[in-house]
């Protein structure tokens, strides 16, 4: 993949934040500014011991799926004993819709009448943090094309009924993150970029006014769509305003994707973009969904050679008979997160590394088969937040994922959150 140097960085535009957000920033001042990655998958495991480490909390043995994590063992915390609450609608009786809909929101989904689909019951933790702390986010998906308009693909939400759909095409993701910046960074190029951004801002300002007029012209139409549209314009305007506050910075961004829809290519491209987004200050918090709920990847690239049509149907559905293949597939999935952890650890940042100031949360929304119990949970990095890594935590009492999301929020800089989702008093994961 061709690479080029990206030489601009946006200032954290404190001056552009609303007064409310500025106050919230001040409240969170005692915490370092954390970056984050939220990575969710449908991988699960054939048997619990295939994912969860053995041994003691501080002297654990890596499981078969995590066997390649030796190089980052000191950077991770694996949590055993977390489930997604089995409440709320499960459209057509399965967890394929409910699990991704609840994994980051911890709220019951709302079923779409007559359809095998749902809508989010509330904001996902990444979007809640974005609103609370004024973070810039991007949501990515690793998928090999096709439509992605179902809740099976959409764990991110900015509020009830308001999806934050991930971008599955790396070319579009690149455009969202890096379009319009001239890597040559000559004064003329900088000015040309700024001029384009100013014009873009004029367009958005004007569209804001028009949306307001449009709303007033209409009677009786659903307001949620217009609310979401208005929120989208506001965030896009803020993003452009941030980009106008350019200062030179040295970081490397990947070149445009070559358009390949092969899963390994897209996985690499999306993780490259996540890395570049964080190191270049183009996003503070990256959300990424790995495939989708029930993905039909064949995993021949991972050495699984006897899947005809669908790894999901032929391996995930037969975890006992296909246990070794299952582990091989799951290991391939999780190893991408390991590579990302290593990459951040190897990137100097101030007196430490990027990993110190980046908190990673990896979740699978299935445990064994399609069950919501005992889901894989991993935290990594984020030492600047006080997270003690190098541990395998076994919870004495089972907890729901709302505690995991609350812990993530605390570590990211929102310590006053008492709970998240349907249980607003759940507290964080004990002992994390």
């Amino acid at each position: 993949m061709k690479r080029r140097t990206f030489v601009f960085r946006s200032l954290k535009a404190a001056a552009l934040l609303t007064p409310v957000l500025s106050i919230r920033r001040a409240e969170a001042r005692e915490f370092p500014t954390m970056r984050g990655l939220v990575w969710v998958n449908s991988t699960g495991y054939p048997y619990a011991e295939d994912f969860f480490p053995g041994g003691d909390t501080n002297d654990f043995t890596l499981s078969p799926i995590l066997s390649d994590f030796e190089s980052v063992r000191d950077e991770i915390v694996v949590v055993d004993g977390v489930s997604i609450r089995g409440s709320g609608p499960a459209p057509r009786g399965n967890n394929h819709v409910r699990a991704p809909g609840k994994v980051l929101t911890a709220k019951d989904i709302v079923q779409v009448p007559g359809a095998e689909d749902g809508t989010p019951g509330g904001a996902s933790i990444d979007q809640w943090l974005a609103g609370e702390l004024g973070l810039q986010t991007i949501e990515l998906q690793v998928n090999n094309g096709g439509s992605n308009n179902h809740m099976r693909h959409r764990p991110f939400a900015s509020g009830p009924g308001a999806f934050k759909p991930p971008v599955d095409n790396p070319q579009n993701a690149w455009n969202l993150l890096f379009s319009g910046f001239d890597p040559t960074s000559t004064p003329e190029a900088i000015e040309a970029t700024k001029r384009r951004l100013r014009m873009r801002k004029s367009v958005l300002d004007d569209v804001t006014d028009e949306l307001s007029r449009f709303r007033s012209e209409l009677t009786g139409v659903e307001t949620l769509k217009l609310d979401i549209h208005e929120d989208a314009i506001r965030k896009a305007e803020e993003s452009v305003a941030r980009d106008l506050e350019l200062e030179p910075v040295s970081c490397t961004v990947p070149g445009q994707s070559d358009g390949s829809s092969a899963v390994p290519d897209r996985a690499q491209a999306q993780f490259d973009l996540a890395y570049a987004a964080l190191t270049c200050g183009r996003a503070d918090l990256v959300g990424m969904i790995w495939g989708y709920s029930g993905q039909h990847w064949r995993y021949e690239w991972a050495g699984v050679t006897n899947v005809a049509d669908s790894g999901h149907d032929e391996v995930h559905h037969l975890p006992g008979a296909r246990r070794e293949d299952y582990i091989r597939m799951a290991r391939w999935d999780w190893n991408h997160l390991r590579d990302f952890i290593e990459r951040l650890r190897d990137t100097p940042d101030g007196g430490g590394t990027m990993l110190d100031s980046t908190l990673i949360m990896g979740l699978s929304f299935f445990g064994v088969h399609h069950q919501l119990d005992r889901i894989p949970v991993m935290f990594a990095g984020g030492s600047a937040s006080g997270l003690q890594t190098g541990r395998a935590v076994r919870l004495a009492e089972p907890r729901f994922n709302d505690t995991v999301l609350t812990s993530f929020a605390h570590l990211m800089g929102a310590p006053s959150l008492t709970g998240f989702g349907d249980d607003t008093a759940c507290g964080p994961v004990p002992g994390l």
């Binding site: 009786g93 007559g114 974005a130 008979a321």
Partner: protein, 576 residues
């Protein structure tokens, strides 16, 4: 075909046999209330979700008060395809939309639930800038010469552009407020965009991001709070997007402008639009999504993903076969029975061998009589191949084929099992039964489902439909054996129109399916979903009830015409 008589009032729920089969009964709808914490980002204070805590997102599928069944006004974000078509038709330049966002909860990609978030907005802005730049270079000098010259544009020039371009972009005349705002926008751009070219480019970009461009409005501009029909501009858009997936053309706009969009004019436009290239493409899209054959497009574009294909070219040929057959039956004066029973097939050098026929001379599709044992759309190799393994030629996937008939053609929904570990069941059978891998797909599935009464009770409602095509492999080739084992497509008992009966194979079943009340009612339901963008709403229920008498011997396209003449399609109640 009978014409719609609005005095007819059938039962709201339609025929009883369309009730959900009840395989799954574990839904729990009681725990959908929203807590007070954990929500942010969107102000939902004036939505049902925020206001009542009942989980209703305020979308188009809500209940309506008794005695007043006109749905609420609706905002429909253009679908991915509608956006691409509309930009192309508006600007007259080639445009390919690289961003996907459509809602397909209805089974069709023009659903009414799509939303626009920050990422989509930004991507649309970038696309708009790029296509506007091309438009200014390629078309502006021809369409609006006064904006393409070096001298600063005059007010008359800008007025003319906004009136003309704005009318087509907004699909209605711009209001005075629109005009003033756009002139103000241009005025504000003068410093950053000192020349006409850049100014026009950003003006076009701006208009492509207008909510009036991005949304179809159905009834939102009605005065008062009583049910009324949408105005002629909204009516023209509804007709155009249904029939072509794009903006109204000049003739339809003219009818709306002159207030002449009455029933006669509507019928004429519907028939006319169906014959246009956009109209034909739209009906193919309808058929492809109805029969769930969208994988054929994938086979065409990425044949390497389908190891079963004998050649890379076969994927494209199968896709073309489907399109050609549908064009010859659904389009024009084809009836539902024609679609299901026609023996006028089409083959080329790639697909002829799949039917055991010699390759025809020449390039492209050649008409041929269907081989014995096949008829209609369900006998096409392309349709059979769409519902089968992508890799293994011998694997026909009875579940997928059964669900095609059960879900899509009979409109009966099947839930996944509750409380049963189907995976464990499958695994145990594989381990316990000798030579499991040598068995036919039907034999394997019958063993797996034979795990208890609950399994059998559910599976026997849909899997037998799939067993009927057991002697067609994953490429739609006729076969009598699976390895050493004889294939058995017979089914002892199958339910159709409420009656149980046995069938020898697909060829024996299809004629009865073709003339069944159930298929006709399901087609009505699918067209209602396609038009309304809703899977289950007051409008779809009313259309189903009022067209309950539609039969398989009526022309399929006339149902689109008759539904688009039905006042309920245009009636909205602002007080909902």
């Amino acid at each position: 075909m009978r014409t719609y008589d609005h005095r007819l009032t059938g039962p709201l729920a339609g025929a009883l046999w369309l009730l959900v089969s009840g395989c799954y009964s574990g839904l729990t709808l009681s725990e959908t209330g929203f807590g007070s914490g954990g929500d942010s980002g969107i102000d939902i204070s004036d939505t049902a979700a925020g206001g009542t805590g009942d989980g209703d997102t305020g979308d188009d599928t809500g209940e309506t008060p008794e005695g007043n069944d006109a749905p609420a006004p609706l905002l429909r974000l253009l679908s991915t395809q509608e956006y691409e078509n509309t930009v192309t038709d508006l600007l007259g330049v080639e445009f390919s939309n690289d961003v996907l966002w459509s809602d397909s909860h209805t089974g069709f990609d023009n659903g009414a639930r799509a939303q626009i978030d920050e990422s989509l907005l930004t991507l649309l802005m970038l696309q708009s800038e790029a296509v506007a730049e091309r438009y200014v270079q390629e078309r502006l000098p021809l369409d609006y010469p006064c904006l393409a010259q070096v001298e600063p544009a005059t007010l008359d020039c800008l007025d003319g552009f906004i009136d003309s371009f704005g009318f087509r972009a907004y699909r209605r005349p711009p209001t005075d407020a629109d005009r003033q705002a756009l002139l103000g926008f241009v005025d504000g751009l003068q410093v950053e965009a000192p020349n006409n070219t850049e100014l026009a480019q950003f003006l076009v970009t701006r208009m492509l991001l207008s909510p009036k461009f991005l949304y179809r409005v159905e009834g939102g501009r009605l005065d008062g709070d009583t049910p009324a029909e949408v105005d002629d501009y909204d009516r023209a858009s509804l007709i155009a997007y249904t029939m072509t997936g794009s903006m109204p053309d000049a003739l339809l706009f003219a009818s709306a402008q002159t207030g002449e969009l009455d029933d006669d004019a509507t019928a004429g436009h519907v028939r006319r639009l169906a014959e246009t290239p956009r109209g034909r493409a739209q009906m193919l899209r309808f058929a492809s999504q109805w029969f769930r054959t969208t994988s054929l497009q994938h086979m065409r574009e990425l044949p390497s993903e389908y190891p079963k294909l004998p050649t890379p070219e076969a994927g494209a040929s199968l896709a073309t076969e489907f399109d050609t057959f549908v064009e010859s039956t659904l389009l024009g004066s084809g009836t539902l029975a024609d679609l299901m029973l026609s023996t006028n097939y089409f083959v080329d050098a790639q697909t002829a061998p799949l039917y055991g026929l010699p390759a025809p001379a020449g390039i492209g599709m050649t008409p041929t009589p269907a081989p014995a044992g096949r008829s209609g759309i369900l006998g096409l190799a392309s349709v059979l191949a769409s519902h089968a393994s992508g890799a293994l030629t011998h694997k026909d996937k009875p579940i997928a084929r059964g669900m095609l008939i059960k879900n899509q053609l009979l409109c009966e929904e099947i839930g996944l099992p509750s409380g049963i570990d189907i995976n464990q069941a499958a695994e145990e059978v594989q381990e316990d039964v000798p030579d499991f891998d040598l068995m036919t797909p039907r034999e394997q599935l019958e063993l797996i489902m034979n795990q208890g009464e609950q399994c059998i009770a559910c599976h026997e409602t849909f899997m037998p439909y799939g067993f009927l095509s057991s002697n067609f492999d994953a490429l739609g080739q006729y076969q009598t054996h699976f390895g050493e084992r004889a294939l058995d497509p017979s089914v002892a008992e199958l339910q159709l129109d409420g009656e149980w009966k046995g069938y020898a194979d697909l060829a024996a079943f299809v004629p009865e399916l073709a003339h069944s009340d159930q298929l006709a009612a399901c087609y009505v339901k699918q067209v209602a979903r396609f038009i309304s963008g809703s899977i289950e709403s007051d409008l779809t229920e009313r259309l189903e009830a009022d067209f309950e008498g539609f039969t398989s011997d009526e022309v399929m396209l006339e149902l689109f015409e008759q539904m688009l003449l039905h006042p309920a399609v245009y009636e909205r109640n602002p007080s909902q």
